[in-house]
Amino acid sequence: MNMELSRRHFLKSAGAGVAGTAIGAFGFGGIEEAHASSVRAFKLITMVETRNTCPYCSVACGIITYSKGDLRKGETAELIHVEGDVDHPTNRGTLCPKGAALLDFAKSETRLKYPMVRKPGSDKFERISWEAALDRIARHLKDDRDRNFVAKNNEGVTVNRWTTTGFLGASATTNETAFVTYKVVRSAGMLVFDNQARV
């Protein structure tokens, strides 16, 4: 990843160059310099830029996210701004009405923050810890698998399938998530397995 010559640094140095040229050309060095220093710096200069792609449709426009805080330094990073990546060959910096509003997706008030459980017959979700939720789901999975796993069919052929629990893959997760998911789902013998491409 070439993060060294980022666009923000380029703008910064290019700005200084333009000021320098103007000073030389017009001979008002002191005044121009004083004026240049009075202009407030572009706020995004203090942000951390990261290359990303839009998670919506498969045009996969290049985007740049701007965050306060640097994840690579172990800091907490808050998303502040998202814009089109002008270097990207497909979208060349443009975004559609959905991509342009991505910040509101990442920071939506209905983003989920905690694992929740809804008990049978209940009319509400309740907080549950990750540990408790994952333990209970794993228990459900194993109990059902042990009860309904089919090792051999009626002809005595080894079929090793499990069809009473199903899994739906996502549409916007990464290839790497997909492969880990594949390993977990298939090794359990699950056949009721599909992804968003179906619809």
Binding site: F105, L134, N160, G166, A197
Partner: protein, 812 residues
């Protein structure tokens, strides 16, 4: 897509049919604009609605939804009748000259071998005549009455412009104008691109819609060339990748397939995947299936996959039905035959047809798990939201776990765009609250299951205990580690057979390409088509050199394009029989006397001689297929079938309802409506301000298009006493919704078989979660039936009724 987004700039004619790129793929549509502005390219839009794509088209032709095959077979007939065929391409690069078995026939909408009870065919006669040498018989003069060319000519003959008008409602003059423009691209110097999306897939014959256009493109010589191709505009950012990696009931990664229970052992399984060439000298690349399969099993099961246990063949579940697709899953669930379900970033309560049935099915589960960055209707299906979700929580016994996940800004990895580019992205933000990424969640579930089996034993624990998990932090595999597995690596050092002192493949190194994969367990590869994406040179998907020295939009050093960084599939077909470009201004690769070379990675072995080796190397024929043999469930040629719910009977086969080979569950057949009760032809679509159900949660987008509406014509509004902005009720045999009416000139009545057909347009988006106003979604109304081959639901053509009504919440 066979081509890329940036390649669209090279076209002369864009046909948008079965999609609406200007609204659904706006930043990709820019390449249509470039082609129009810089090359004088023309744009044709064929759609039931006058969309924003249509508003910038050179020609707009209206069509009734669900009749695309009649239209396209009509265009093929027109090209044949006016001799606008790319003859050299058709003769050399398609199976036009292949002879078909005498037993194959077609009459009254059905092919040989139909069984009405099973709604299926015996497809044995849909095959080539095979000679004593084991190769298919051909007649290069195209004179033989059984050659594909003559069968095709006879098959399309009935689709006259008059019949097209009668079925599709497209005025004859408009149809002929479109057909004439398309036919002009039979010139080797002209290219046409087909841009389509869910407008073609969401039909009970979606696969055949696409086949019909692919056949047309082959006859015109438009496949494999710059500015040509069949370009599926995928809807989501990584459904291409999820499909590549095989997250479907019957798939293994890289388009390998899971065994059925009839394939009782590895030799039987491999026996039907031998792919012996059907003509002399052909590549038939799937002959390498064994190498990809064994390397996959090594990636999945590591040391536990050995030659002695047939590479862990028994670890794979065996299918007893073609697939456990989503429709079958919810049918089983509704029958009480399922216990649990996990939805990872997926919202079936909005996405799947007949929502009443979906709710009923989910209510019968013991447990449901959702993993999503946002609230979904699915995770709250049990919650009462008045008339938007009229359920009684007390009566629903499902235990529901809602797990919060990261979103794009907070995770790392590769997504595959529509043009097959694997683009890497990096995290830039901290997830909110306790949200975690999906890899961590899946790892946690796996490790817990593994621990339970290690402790308690249970049903066939072997594959769970032996899954290859070579990650330095078992709890959270790193994306780069997994990407390396997908690319493939060397398991054991392989010596060079020509010189044993030399090493061919060195243990622990990443493989450079799928060409080196082996079937002896010495290589591992998670997805063979991704080989080359993460090599010893590093993460190729992260490359960001946007240079385009050829000016052709190739961008060869931007990210990685599967397979083998190839940007245009079938590019060998961009050159004639002798290897010279059909059009020098469109050159991709050419034969230089010794090898293939040019601006893209050749889609043919580099030293394969022209005239000997055909360009369609994945097919055992070496050519493309106008006649699909027994590979499509409803026929080797497309046929016009009406949607299961259609406003008129099928004029070419009045007794046939829908696609005769589509699977229909018993109760769903009874839930189809008829035109007498539901006279209006409904269709669904997405608005440019929205992305499916996600943007209900995004304030800006919720404001831009705030309220659920349906679109109808001024004529229908007058007939039904409906006014612009007034409330209407729209109902099908399966459900009912209320919406604001948009009365518009964008939709006009179509005259089909002498009858006025009114179209009702129903956008997708609204539900009962998020910051947007509450509303309904067309899946309240859509029929529970899918495409005969791949079971994509028929959301694009069904029947409804409509009337003026009172606002939601008011007393009627």
């Amino acid at each position: 897509m066979t081509n890329s987004w940036t390649d669209i700039q090279n076209t002369d004619l864009v046909v948008i049919m079965g999609g609406n790129a200007a609204e659904a793929h706006p930043c990709g549509f820019k390449w249509v604009t470039e082609a129009k502005a810089n090359r004088g390219a023309k744009l044709i839009v064929v759609d039931p609605r006058f969309t924003r794509s249509a508003s910038v088209a050179d020609v707009y032709a209206p069509i009734r939804q669900g009749t695309d095959i009649a239209f396209l077979l009509g265009v093929i007939r027109h090209c044949i009748a006016t001799d606008r065929i790319q003859w050299e391409y058709t003769k050399a690069f398609t199976n036009a000259s292949y002879l078909v078995k005498d037993g194959f026939t077609y009459a009254d909408g059905l092919f040989t071998g139909y069984d009405e009870q099973k709604r299926d065919y015996d497809r044995r006669e849909w095959e080539y005549q095979i000679g004593p040498d084991g190769f298919a018989l051909v007649d290069e003069t195209l004179q033989h009455p059984r050659c594909v060319w003559n069968l095709l000519k006879a098959h399309v003959d009935q689709y006259t412009p008059e019949l097209v008008e009668r079925i599709c409602g497209t005025p004859k003059a408009k149809f002929l104008q479109v057909a004439g423009m398309i036919a002009e691209t039979s010139s080797p110097q002209k290219a046409m691109t087909s841009m389509y999306a869910l407008g073609w897939t969401q039909h009970s014959k979606g696969s055949q819609n696409i086949r019909a256009m692919a056949m047309l493109q082959l006859l015109l010589g438009n496949i494999g060339i710059r500015g040509g191709g069949m370009n599926a505009l995928r809807g989501h950012s990584n459904i291409q990748g999820l499909t590549d990696v095989g997250l479907m009931s019957n798939m293994l990664p890289g388009y390998l397939t899971l065994p059925t229970e009839k394939e009782v052992d590895l030799p039987t399984y491999m026996g039907s995947r031998g792919f012996k060439p059907l003509r002399p000298n052909q590549v038939s690349y799937w002959q390498n299936y064994g190498k990809f399969f064994v390397s996959l099993m090594k990636a999945l099961y590591g040391p536990a996959a050995t030659k002695d246990n047939n590479w862990a063949f028994d670890y794979l579940p065996k299918l007893d039905v073609p697939a456990y697709d989503i429709l079958r899953a919810f049918e089983m669930m509704n029958e009480g035959k399922m216990t649990g379900y996990v939805c990872q970033g997926f919202n079936p309560m909005q996405s799947f047809p007949n929502r009443t049935k979906i709710t009923s099915a989910l209510s019968k589960l013991k447990f449901l798990v959702t993993m999503d960055p946002l609230e979904t209707e699915t995770s709250r299906f049990w919650e009462n939201h008045g008339e938007y979700n009229p359920v009684d929580p007390k009566s629903i016994g499902t235990e529901v776990f809602q797990l919060p996940t990261t979103c794009f800004a907070e995770d790392e990895g590769a997504l595959v765009n529509s043009g097959r580019w694997l683009q890497w992205h990096w995290p830039g933000a901290t997830p909110p609250g306790e949200a975690r990424n999906d890899i961590w969640i899946m790892a946690q579930l796996h490790l817990r299951l593994k621990a339970l089996y290690a402790k308690e034993g249970g049903a066939f624990p072997d594959p769970i205990l032996n899954v290859h998990w070579p990650y330095h932090d078992k709890n959270e595999p790193e994306p780069a580690e997994v990407a390396k597995e997908l690319n493939g690596y060397v398991v054991e050092t392989v010596a060079d057979p020509a010189d044993p002192t030399k090493v061919l493949l060195e243990k622990g190194k990443q493989v450079a390409s799928f060409g080196v994969l082996r079937d002896d367990g010495t290589t591992a590869c998670g997805c063979w088509i991704y080989a080359g994406s993460f090599t010893e040179a590093g993460n190729i998907m992260a490359r960001r050199d946007n240079a385009d020295p050829s000016g052709a939009g190739m961008h060869a050093n931007w990210s990685f394009s599967w397979p083998a960084n190839r940007r245009i599939l079938y590019n060998r077909a961009s050159a004639d029989r002798d290897g010279k470009a059909w059009d020098p201004s469109r050159k991709i690769i050419e034969w230089d006397g010794a090898k293939w070379a040019g601006i893209d990675v050749p889609d043919i072995p580099p030293t394969a001689k022209p005239r000997e080796v055909g360009p369609f190397i994945m097919n055992p024929e070496g050519v493309s297929r106008l006649f699909a043999r027994g590979m499509m469930r409803e026929g080797p040629f497309p046929v016009h079938y009406e949607p299961f719910e259609a406003p008129i009977a099928n004029v070419i086969a009045p007794k046939i309802r829908g696609n005769p080979a589509s699977r229909v569950f018993k109760n769903d057949m009874a839930a189809f409506g008829d035109a007498a009760e539901f006279p209006y032809a409904a269709t669904s679509y997405r608005l440019t301000e929205h992305f499916h159900y996600w943007t209900k949660h995004v304030w800006v987008n919720a404001v831009l298009q705030p309220e659920f509406f349906v679109e109808i014509s001024e004529e229908l509004a007058r007939e039904k006493g409906i006014v612009l902005g007034g409330w209407v009720r729209v109902w099908s045999k399966r459900g009912s919704v209320k919406a604001k009416a948009v009365v518009t000139k964008r939709i006009r009545p179509l005259i089909c078989d002498g009858k006025a057909v009114h179209v009702v347009g129903i956008p997708i988006h609204w539900g009962f979660t998020g910051v947007a106003k509450k509303g309904w979604n067309p899946n309240m109304l859509g029929p529970f039936v899918g495409d005969a081959n791949i079971e994509t639901p028929e959301f694009k053509a069904f029947l409804v009724n409509i009337e003026a009504t009172t606002p939601p919440g008011a007393v009627a």
